[in-house]
């Protein structure tokens, strides 16, 4: 079959042929074609095989709800499964493939499933594959997954770009059909900021599908006015998929899906639209009719056929049967006949109660108010119902039953069906509201005017162009009124056309499957079985049968399912509700959700002011949080990192080392009440810290556990600087701001994060004093600058610039930290290295810092893991007994926090220098079987100590302080390793702190 393209006017550009491939075969279409229209035009009927029964499937609908014509597009990293052929505009070089078909879409082995269908109904998997239980995971599920399912995602990285953006408007209009255009024009005339988002390649909605001159002219006029309005933005190819808090809407724009790849253009753009108000004018989805064989290629929605007929001059077949319960079928028949396509019959299946033989008959000449095409009235109108569509790979005939009970077989190669309209009100029901059945309109309607979102036109259940134009204007006025903007409706009130008389449940009783949810292969029988087995509630039936769980989320089938479930219980349509609506209205790719945040850009990296300086010295970097930190500085000839780290650690203790500590959080405080404030946030006394001194401090959370540690230095009478750990810098700042603003607003405290203003370096080692003296103009003698001293001093070589010097030590050596303005960091680091060259200075990184601090038993967040108290860490004596209160004090005395048997900080040393253990390993009693039962604690940090010549660690072990000297085993269950170790005090090296004082 070929030659479905009609020689009639349409919106395709016949001067621009486009070549593409489908299943390896070359096809040609025109600019303006979708993949669906181009393939149908060239005679392709079968687009793929269905999910479960592998039935041949063609094209059912025309928009984003399409459940059947799903194809895989692209290859390699661009391979994208389940692309709706109805939404894909063709372009030169497009490569598409059918899905779920083997060996080919015409001859498919899996179709045997159709013969087994009595066994494969809903619930089949749960009942059949129950034994043995383990086989489900290993055997059945992989097999079923291979046989079922649709397209497969590619596994290579996607080379395309995706963008995200924010947008703001007074009025978001969703859908650019008659109601949407009218709403947008109404708002534009009122001077409002408008965003008009539409799913189609061209805005217009029904005004495009209608095909009449009046509709075309109206569309052109409205769009011209909108394009000329300065505050209106029209977004074509944009599906609004979600309605979120604060009236933020999510929309997915297909920027480059219809174009060949371009490295600079995103394929999709994710919009977050902050709308002060919105009008939902998303139209309605035509409802399929449920009869046997309603999924055969060639059976399609009347509206889908109409869109391709009017838009792309594509005929559905040579001889068409139109099955309808309302006006849409008649309208399509007129459109077909006016284009010389034979209509075998119009089968009107509206029920007898609504029977009005003259309802459309007198309108034969002028039946749409003279606005649409001329009805020539060739086709016979038959009253009755469809029984069965017949055919193997495509529809060959339609069996019908007349009102009088007689049956007939119509030889046709296409069937158009129209079962009324389901308003697309899903978006309005994503935040808790539920659609309600309207007897008058025979449809589930969303709530029409919720704050921030007004539903207009066909989405509100209205029928007819004039009524939708009027309603769009009316709802725009209402929505704008809500935000205080006065507007006048662009269209006057107009009456509706007649709605379809009755929503229909199952029709045919002919042999064969009657599909309700096409994409998930759910039939009337499946719903009946669900009800029989007690899953008649729509939410249960949905999960039991998978009806409405496909990518269209029930847009095609949910209303039919609800009507059929109601009928099965002897209830009226509408008595069974629809299932809950949630985002997304239409599938959204992971690429669009990720945007540019992938690979190195997954999250922004923070770099120290000394980053480039360290890089130039060959640093190997390590990610800690967002920071890129130098881990070590390998030298030529060093075989591995461990050698470099051991060398750096030795050099620090032997001579001196320079380490970038700009990563620490730095908070500067001023204000009359800072002493009182600090006293309340630290567990130890801070109020009496004198000028020129620094003090180690520990903060607790309200629940009594340790939050963070650091130092507080008082640089002047009214100036304090505190440091936090790298990991908790933001958290501590937020905590202190909360304390200052919410807990104690009466205190005069001003807090500033100055983390980025200073480059801070630790200069450690016996030679540190003489080296630092070359850089700052400061008396560094013990008398003037004792341990825990703090000072501001002129920086040599930078007139007028003051450095901050703190004599604090994480390494256990004579050490200083010097903070200089960030832009001078690299120059000062150079100066320190130059001054220390003769003394044997080296730069060292985070790994060496860890060795030095583990040797000294200093804790980090490996130990402060949110579960330890100050007493657990062995610093219980720091807890001030004098202070009336501080954060965490009230909870410190809880029995659980003071009970015996808590894990306490200790050191661990490998008994055999040749053996090692790792952080995360469990500490077991000597001789205990390797098991978590009876574990005594765990290792929090480890390193190879070049000074003790063995592996050291810090650990949290039950009652550790009473167990110094005890031998235990360290068990690494992941690697199956065990190592003998001895519990020791946490300070492994220089416990008397002699080196600290030079």
């Amino acid at each position: 079959m070929s030659g479905r393209r009609l020689p009639v006017a349409a919106r395709i550009d016949r001067g621009r042929p486009i070549r593409f491939r489908f299943d390896g075969r070359e096809h040609q279409g025109f600019e303006g074609d979708t993949l669906a229209s181009a393939l149908i035009a060239s005679g392709v009927g079968i687009f793929g095989r269905s999910f479960k029964y592998h039935r041949p499937r063609g094209v059912l609908a025309a928009g984003s709800a399409e459940p059947n014509a799903l194809v895989t597009v692209g290859t390699g990293g661009r391979q994208e499964p389940n692309v709706r052929a109805t939404m894909l505009e063709i372009f030169d070089g497009l490569e598409a493939r059918s899905q779920n078909a083997w060996p080919s879409r015409r001859l498919d082995v899996g179709a045997l499933n159709g013969l087994l269908s009595p066994l494969l109904g809903a619930g089949f998997y749960y009942k059949t594959f129950m034994w043995p239980p383990k086989a489900w995971e290993r055997v059945y599920e992989p097999l079923i997954r291979r046989a079922a399912g649709l397209g497969r995602a590619g596994i290579e990285p996607d080379p395309d770009r995706y963008e995200k953006t924010w947008a703001h408007c007074d009025l978001l209009v969703i859908g650019a059909g008659p109601a949407g255009l009218s709403a947008a024009v109404t708002a534009a005339r009122a001077g409002a900021r408008v965003i008009l988002a539409d799913e189609g390649a061209e805005p217009g909605g029904w005004l495009l599908d209608d095909g009449g001159d009046a509709s075309s002219a109206l569309r052109e006029d409205l769009l011209a006015e909108l394009r000329a309005a300065p505050e209106v933005r029209i977004l074509p190819r944009a599906t609004v998929f979600g309605w979120y808090d604060d009236n933020v809407f999510g929309a997915l724009e297909r920027v480059g899906k219809h174009l060949p790849p371009d490295p600079d253009r995103p394929v999709e753009r994710l919009w977050r639209i902050v709308a002060r108000s919105a009008v939902l004018a998303s139209g309605a989805e035509e409802r399929p009719l449920v009869f046997a064989g309603n999924d055969l290629p060639g059976v399609a929605m009347a509206s889908g056929i109409r869109r391709r007929l009017v838009g792309q001059a594509v005929a559905p077949g040579r001889r068409v049967a139109v099955v309808t319960n309302g006006e849409a079928g008649y309208s399509l028949a007129a459109a077909l006949e006016s284009r010389e396509v034979e209509v075998a019959a119009i089968l009107d299946c509206s029920p007898p109660s609504a029977h009005d033989p003259e309802r459309y008959a007198p309108a034969r000449g002028d039946w749409r108010g003279g606005q649409a095409e001329d009805w020539r009235g060739v086709a016979r109108i038959v009253r009755g119902r469809p029984l069965r569509a017949v055919g193997m790979r495509a529809v060959e005939a339609l069996e019908i039953e007349r009102r009088d009970g007689s049956r007939r077989r119509l030889a046709v190669d296409a069937v158009a069906m129209s079962g009324g309209w389901s308003p697309n009100g899903q978006l309005a029901c994503q935040r808790g509201a539920r659609p309600e059945w309207s007897e008058a309109r025979q449809a589930f309607l969303p709530p029409i005017d919720q704050p921030g979102l007004h539903v207009a036109g066909a989405a509100a259940g209205l029928v007819g162009r004039a009524a939708c134009l009027a309603d769009g204007a009316r709802q725009a006025v209402a929505a704008l009124g809500e935000i205080g903007l006065a507007a006048a409706p662009a269209f006057d009130p107009a009456p509706e056309d007649a709605p379809p008389p009755r929503a229909l449940g199952a029709q045919g009783s002919g042999r064969g499957k009657s599909f309700v949810d096409f994409q998930n292969d759910v039939t009337v029988d499946d719903l009946a079985r669900a009800r029989q087995e007690g899953y008649g509630h729509p939410e249960l039936a949905k999960r039991y049968t998978t009806s409405a769980m496909a990518t269209d989320q029930g847009r095609m089938g949910a209303v039919n399912a609800a009507v059929i479930l109601a009928e099965a219980q002897g209830l009226a349509p509408g008595a069974v509700p629809l299932t809950t609506q949630r985002p997304f209205f239409s599938p959204v790719s992971f690429g669009a959700l990720a945007g540019a945040a992938r690979a190195e850009a997954f999250r922004p990296a923070r770099r120290s002011p000394l980053h480039a300086w360290s890089q130039a010295r060959g640093a190997v970097f390590l990610e800690t949080g967002a920071w890129l930190r130098p881990a070590w500085f390998p030298r030529a000839g060093e075989p591995d990192w461990a050698t470099a780290v051991a060398r750096e650690a030795r050099m620090v203790r032997l001579a001196a080392g320079l380490c970038d500590v700009s990563f620490l959080g730095k908070i500067e405080l001023t204000g009359a009440d800072v002493p009182a404030f600090l006293n309340r946030v630290y567990l130890n006394g801070m109020a009496k810290l004198p000028v020129g001194r620094a003090r180690y401090g520990v903060m607790l959370r309200e629940d009594g556990f340790v939050m963070d540690d650091g130092t507080v230095a008082r640089l002047a009478e009214d100036r304090w600087v505190l440091t936090t750990t790298t990991a908790k810098a933001e958290e501590v700042m937020a905590h202190l701001e909360f304390c200052a603003q919410v807990l104690w607003p009466e205190l005069d405290v001003r807090l500033a994060s100055v983390s980025d203003a200073w480059a801070q370096m630790a200069l450690a080692g016996p030679k540190a004093r003489e080296i630092l003296g070359a850089v700052v103009d400061l008396d560094l003698s013990d008398a003037a600058m004792p341990f825990m001293g703090a000072a501001q001093a002129p920086l040599r070589g930078a007139p007028g610039v003051t450095a901050r010097v703190f004599r604090i030590s994480f390494s256990g050596e004579l050490a200083y930290e010097i903070a200089v303005p960030a832009d001078l960091g690299p120059a000062v680091a150079d100066a320190i290295m130059a001054a220390g060259q003769g003394a044997g200075i080296c730069c060292y990184g985070a790994e060496t810092l860890a060795v030095l601090r583990i040797e000294k038993g200093h804790v980090t967040h490996a130990e402060i893991d949110g579960r330890v108290t100050a007493h657990d860490l062995g610093i219980g004596r720091m807890v001030s007994a004098k202070k009336a209160d501080f954060i965490g004090r009230a909870m410190l005395g809880r029995p659980a926090l003071t009970a015996a048997g808590r894990l306490q900080l200790c050191g661990l040393q490998a008994v055999d220098p040749a053996q090692a253990f790792r952080a995360g390993a469990q500490v077991l009693n000597a001789g205990a079987a390797p098991s978590l039962e009876g574990a005594q604690g765990h290792v929090s940090s480890t390193c190879w100590s070049p000074h003790l010549g063995r592996t050291l660690g810090l650990a949290l072990v039950r009652d550790a302080r009473a167990r110094h000297g005890e031998e235990v085993q360290v068990w690494d269950g992941l690697r199956g390793e065990t190592c003998a170790a001895r519990i020791v005090p946490p300070v492994h090296f220089d416990p008397e702190n002699r080196r600290l004082h030079g």
Binding site: E163, R606, A612, D756, A757, A774, A822, L824, A831
Partner: protein, 179 residues
């Protein structure tokens, strides 16, 4: 004894060049490393009109209630305003990135959730906000001209994000050494 110490620009190493679709045509947006400025964070004591006290001391950027960033001033230079206004030195803490051109607001909206319409964010206005996950202070300096203040540690990451986000607009980047 020490040689004079040289200062390193906050955006040292930021690449320059033309990026994206409009490489042949006029770029829609320019991203530029602006000269580093001294800056101080000023706090008001309760009841003090901070903006009035800071008049003439430098351009102000809003950081929050009772907090401003004074551009071009050191904390020391504001010392005479104590105790009603206290100041903390922030020179070097933030890089300044200029974003300008007809596509400037479009580019910024790709990371910023605030409404940048002139009726909501007028010339002279500034506010702290996020660009993606990076905290910035955005100031509007003209109809199509903006200043982005970004923490020094995030400056290169933001620069890279801006260049990437601007490719579909066509973007010209001028790093600190660029012309």
């Amino acid at each position: 004894m020490a040689d004079a110490l040289t200062r390193t620009p906050a955006l040292a190493g930021a690449p320059s060049g033309r990026f994206g679709l409009a490489a042949g045509a006029a770029p829609q947006v320019a991203v530029e490393a602006l000269a580093d400025l001294a800056m101080a964070q000023a706090f008001a004591a309760p009841g003090v009109d901070l903006d009035a006290r800071l008049a003439g001391r430098g351009e102000l950027r809003r950081l929050g209630p009772g907090q401003r960033l004074v551009m071009g001033a050191t904390a020391q230079a504001l010392g005479d305003l104590a105790p009603e206004v206290s100041a903390v030195e922030q020179s070097g803490s933030r890089a300044r990135i200029g974003v300008s051109g007809p596509g400037a607001a479009v580019l910024l909206a790709r990371g910023v959730g605030a409404d940048l319409h002139p009726s909501r964010f007028a010339e002279g206005a500034s506010a702290p906000m996020l660009f993606g996950r990076i905290g910035i202070v955005l100031a509007r300096q003209g109809a199509e001209r903006w200043e982005v203040l970004v923490p020094r540690s995030y400056a290169l990451s933001l620069w890279e994000e801006l260049l990437e986000a601007g490719r579909s607009l066509g973007l010209e980047a001028r790093g600190p050494g660029g012309r």
